[in-house]
Amino acid sequence: MDLKDLYQEIILDHGKNPRNLGKFENFNKDAKGHNPLCGDKVHVYLKVDENKKISDIKFEGHGCAISMASASIMTELMKDKDEKEVNELIEDFLKMIKDNPELKSKIISDDDKTKLMSLSGVKKYPMRVKCATLPWHTLISAMTNKPGEVNTEKAD
């Protein structure tokens, strides 16, 4: 195990200076996520246009470097993606964190893949996987208008 795999430069950068942090006025979808074990909280706001494309995405929240970096990178990658692409990326990311060694999706650039793969370090830290996946489960919840809060201790 190497801490450097977990706390890569890119994670520390996004963790300290999360992109797309905040809320915007005209969001039309949102969802909250909570990890009661460590207190991480995230609230994802979306503007989904008539073509089912995410025209804007931001998040509010607080938590560890992993969860904040994950939310930050996720919001960067999701902007201007349509529903189909969003679902494909979420599925690809969650599978990568769980089993797959690499990302399979072809809809993002190699640079973006590298950015997303920086979160793969959590695989060696089972207790921290939920930190990385919380924003993504919250995004699913927002996209599907699921009522209630995402809770890492209730989600599968």
């Binding site: 801490l3 074990l37 460590c38 607080h62 938590g63 560890c64 992993i66």
Partner: protein
């Protein structure tokens, strides 16, 4: 006390964690186990095993005697008047649930009030919460002050003519505050309010005297006292155990069972339904022997000195913010670091073999009051040394370096 020799009695320290010596600073969560306790479980199962209190054969009689010996050891350890005031439970949580359930059932009615504090662990809040729904009682919280302390005045302020029971921690698992429980008990008794003390953090670190404290109930967690998991102790004054109804029904707790009715057994059987955690009880006797051999006063002194040292070095570290500076502090050092989330701290420390806890430590009410989602916590046991605290400090510096480089 030679701590190096004491550490040798704990086999866990023979193991490496990520190729480093284990620096175990999570004893408030659960303590490590000396070899005598582990061996006692093995010996019981391999040489002496039988169920207790039922059969009359050789092994059953011997096992029953061993089981009851621990009850007497606990009684003497906490200076209770009578061994029948010692009830074994599956943990301190069950001990508190037992009291909340039976006391609530018999004595509480709509509009009555239960007084707890903002310092309480969830296990001394949630069991009482059920009575809100089933009985319509109200739960009041005595305020914690900026030092993480609970004063006698803050308790007095929240006592009303409707207060029917006070449930309070002996030693906070977050701020380390040791509460003046003797004075608090005297105050409550002057108003005819019985007191339950959550002794999870008190019992492993402080000398106890039930007759001197005069509390009505005292809950103990055995796995925090160098003992096995799955076991707790409820101390209760005999009059309560006689007056309160049984908690669970089953074998072992009955007097006579007929189709038309049932009578219940005498103390302590009335509260020990079903087959109990026999091996754990017997092994817990060795935990008490272990503590007695060292002397709880000596342990207290060693831990007080270490806590003071830990506070000193962490206060000198400008990035560390210690949580709680109570008047009388037990062996808990909770802290936050500027710019590093407690979970990141815990993961980075772990890499160096330093085991701490991060989170809300089952005290969400307190963390909300402190305005913190989570804290990091180093907590001490008899096996810890100043070197452990130096390692903690240097690993904290490593965190700061990783996050601020």
């Amino acid at each position: 006390m030679n701590i190096k020799d004491i550490k040798k009695e704990f086999p866990i320290f023979d193991n490496k964690v990520h190729n480093n010596d284990l620096v175990y600073l999570d004893s408030a969560n659960s303590s490590q186990k000396p070899k005598v306790v582990v061996d006692r479980i093995y010996d019981f199962y391999t040489k002496e095993f039988s169920n207790v209190g039922r059969s009359v054969h050789y092994l059953a009689v011997a096992a029953t005697n061993l089981y009851e010996n621990t009850r007497v050891l606990v009684q003497k350890y906490i200076n209770a008047k009578d061994p029948n005031e010692i009830v074994f439970t599956k943990g301190a949580t069950e001990a508190i649930n037992l009291v909340a359930n039976t006391f609530g059932q018999k004595y509480l009615k709509e509009g009555d009030e239960i007084l707890i504090t903002e310092l309480e662990h969830h296990s001394n809040y949630v069991p009482w919460h059920y009575l809100r729904k089933s009985k319509g009682v109200k739960i009041n919280f005595a305020d914690v002050d900026e030092n993480g302390d609970i004063s006698i005045e803050s308790i007095e302020k929240k006592i009303t003519p409707k207060t029917k029971i006070l449930a309070i921690t002996h030693l906070s698992n977050v701020t380390g505050a040791i509460l003046p429980i003797k004075e608090i008990i005297q105050l409550a008794h002057s108003k005819n309010i019985p007191v339950l003390v959550d002794g999870c953090q008190g019992a492993p670190h402080l000398k106890l005297d039930m007759q001197d404290l005069d509390c009505d109930f005292y809950a103990i967690s055995c796995h925090k006292m160098y003992g096995p998991t799955g076991l707790g102790v409820l101390y209760a004054k005999k009059k309560w155990l006689e007056e309160l109804p049984p908690y669970q029904g089953g074998g072992g707790m009955i007097g006579e069972v007929k189709k038309e009715g049932i009578t219940f057994g005498d103390l302590p059987n009335k509260y020990e339904a079903g087959t109990m955690a026999t091996a754990q009880v017997i092994a817990f006797g060795e935990s008490i022997n272990f503590i007695n051999k060292l002397g709880i006063e000596k342990i207290e002194e060693h831990e007080r000195e270490l806590t003071k040292y830990g506070e000193e070095i962490l206060r000198k570290n400008n990035s560390v913010k210690l949580i709680g500076s109570p008047k009388n502090k037990g062996s808990v050092l909770s802290f936050t670091l500027d710019g590093v989330h407690p979970h990141d701290i815990a993961t980075i420390l772990d890499e160096d073999g330093v085991a701490i806890r991060a989170g809300h430590h089952c005290c969400q009410i307190l963390h909300e009051k402190l305005g913190l989602a989570a804290t990091a916590r180093a907590s001490l046991g008899v096996y810890n040394t100043k070197d452990d605290l130096d390692q903690l400090n240097s690993s904290i510096n490593k965190c700061i370096k990783i996050f601020n480089s």
